[in-house]
Subunit: 421 residues, 2 copies
């Protein structure tokens, strides 16, 4: 294992404001160990790049371009929503991966994604046992949903959390100004398919002088329409207005998404969107308050301009640690963020086994949610506070952030076979 | 007129990220002329505060609190959507205003708003002629819609423009990453009821390496569905994805809003919202591309965290100039921003007559829009570029911007009569 090999790095699933900071961590760290890792090949569009032999030679990118990844949102190499099936079900895919890995002398596999991607990474880590190809697979955690097991938090989440907290605070000042004669209810829809971490972050907008958001709707709490409408009405009576942060994943008591659109993505997840207008209509029909609603959608997870410094630092650190783990001979593991103290916030990088991470989801603990189900507790605030702390502004030119576009030069193909996905 | 009098200041219409910077300009400048202006009374919720004798004594706020208005979004004194009728139709309202103004020795009236508010300000400026009460009324321009006549641009617009340009650039990087196996079309809905200035700002996201947004839908261009779908399809074929910025005010050839919800506000405007999901459905039904959509709504106009420095400076400057105009004896005027050169950008404050401003709307010139109706021209870029330039970050504490909440102490009422609005 101490011979010189190449590494494969790819991005998977929904991208974030800081996934490229992890890419930067992986590539910069690998470049410091050229005696062990000759090149980092990036898969264009995740694992699909490996299957189709569509590789990017990251050694063709300047040090400055790689550095600029640290402040550039989105997935610089392209991502994918594509889940490998088990070896038994889909042996041909794995044989193809081995064919490509062998052609490029790939000894290290770094996969940057969430829970589904951890499962893909775990399967790759088992290629040695299952199909006799020796490789070390390290998962690099990333998900705005903050729902990965073992790690205290997930790179990508802190920046979305900061975006949602800042936006909620700002929009609350707007609706407070308008409430006397116009808008009384403002609804912000945020991401979080199954777990309410992002919605909870909206609660950080509160301070001593402002009680907005008055209501947070979590996926973990079945929607109770009468209690909700009572709370809207009470908030408007008390403050003159009501700010609501609603997770896209809110369900009714029967477990059905309030705003299910019916389509499903490649992982079999329902594609959501539009719970904000649903809630707005409820408010109008039952209480006759004028409303405004916003759906942050991709804006929240790409908002590198308001990224959390903690998040950027952690995203870089897990990329760096992944390479270091690989160089120490580890396989089937993931750098995890370990919280050592809340105040002052101290963290370090630990090591999680992929078998403990893959296909698991970490929900918001019930004691992070207030008894009435509409707010966050002091315990949640203590957890969230350090994750949104610190600003890490990108460089600007002519009023716009200067994000890097890599050359992303394709490596000339070596194999004569094509692979259809 | 050289005797000591008090001033009335109020905020009107939709608030912005920088309307409080204008309030700061008014109050700080007035405080420098205590020999002429004893106190600035703010109307709680705009002109309604005057009608109901609900006044705030701004002299009770510290210099630091007033200074902090410069970086605080929303309307610190509350705004209103309330338009005064003509003197002939509603003499009782004007008599009430005079009663209140007289009780508080108001000699200066500063009204901070858009085109409808300029009309209110104009009517107040005529009180001397119509009802014999001597007052100087100065309008302080404010509107995210950038549709006021005479002035080169409107305070509030530059910051929304920057928000939309930055968000479009960021979201475009996201969808570009996802397009291979997932989302191919991203739609961002922005404000701009009748004029496409805000939508046009999305076009600033483009640079040499990125052609997003591929399509901008303006209120000034009737929606041409076949041409639109062709362009979406061509963009996806060329780049793999398509980013669309759509104005809430887009209409079909018959002049009907694509997403009219039917309700109207106090000014008789239709309340819009939800054109993004409408466009998304069109794309799905006709082209079967997976989509995501966002509706920025209040987030865009309250986003002080990403305000344009040019905009903040101009918002302050018009507040300051309004007081200076008043002290020079002017009436029925508005400080206007005069562009002296594009590159380098130079501007100064001129003086507009309210009769030239009230109830007029300035639309996006046709030569700011490309021939095909889906993009912006070099001329538009030259106009927009300086308005989004410069960052003016608010102070942060624990990861969140520190916006000020004023004490807003009510002045004890002097009148025995109540007034119902």
């Amino acid at each position: 294992m101490a011979s010189i090999q190449n590494a494969f790095y790819a991005q998977s699933g929904g991208v974030t404001a800081v996934i490229n900071a992890s890419a930067c961590g992986v590539i910069e760290t690998a470049r410091k160990h050229k005696n062990r890792i000759a090149k980092v090949y990036a898969g264009r569009n995740g694992i699909i790049g490996a299957l189709t032999e569509d590789l990017i030679d990251t050694s063709r990118e300047s040090a400055a371009a790689i550095r600029a990844l640290k402040h550039t949102p989105g997935g610089a190499f392209g991502s994918c929503r594509y889940k490998l099936k088990g070896v038994d079900e889909s042996r041909v895919q794995y044989q193809r991966l081995i064919e490509v890995f062998r052609a490029y002398r790939i000894g290290y596999f770094f996969y940057n994604g969430g829970g589904d991607s951890a499962d893909t990474c775990l399967k790759i880590s088992q290629l040695s046992e299952t199909l006799g190809y020796s490789i070390q697979a390290i998962h690099v955690p990333k998900t705005v949903d903050n729902d990965l097991a073992v790690t205290d938090c997930c790179p990508g989440f802190g920046s979305v959390a900061k975006y949602v907290a800042v936006s909620t605070r700002e929009a609350a000042l707007d609706v407070a100004s308008m409430a006397k004669t116009s808008t009384k209810v403002f609804i912000l829809e945020v991401m979080g398919r199954h777990a309410g971490w992002i919605a909870a972050a909206g609660g950080m907008a509160q301070d001593r002088t402002n009680s907005a958001p008055h209501i947070i709707l979590f996926p973990e709490i079945p929607f109770d329409q009468p209690a909700f409408l009572d709370k809207v009405s009470a908030s408007v009576k008390q403050d003159g207005y009501c700010v609501i942060v609603v997770s896209e994943g809110v369900r009714n008591a029967a477990g059905r998404f309030l705003a299910e659109v019916g389509s499903k993505d490649a992982f079999g997840h329902s594609q959501l969107g539009g719970v904000a207008p649903f809630i707005a209509n409820l408010v109008m029909e039952n209480l006759n308050y004028k409303y405004h609603w916003a759906v942050a959608d991709y804006l929240q997870r790409s908002a590198r301009h308001i990224a959390s410094k903690t998040d950027v630092d952690q995203a870089y650190a897990v990329g760096k640690a992944a390479v270091e783990f690989a160089l120490k001979g580890h396989n089937a593991v993931m750098p995890a963020i370990v919280r050592k103290s809340d105040r002052p916030y101290k963290w370090s990088i630990g090591m999680a086994r992929l078998t403990d991470v893959a296909n698991r989801e970490k929900f918001l603990p019930r004691d992070f949610i207030t008894t009435d189900g509409f707010g966050i507790t002091a315990k949640a605030r203590r957890y969230l506070a350090p994750l949104i702390r610190g600003e890490d502004y990108p460089p600007y030119k002519d009023g716009l952030p200067q994000y890097v576009t890599l050359k992303n030069l394709a490596v000339p193909k070596k194999l004569e076979t094509e692979f259809k996905i």
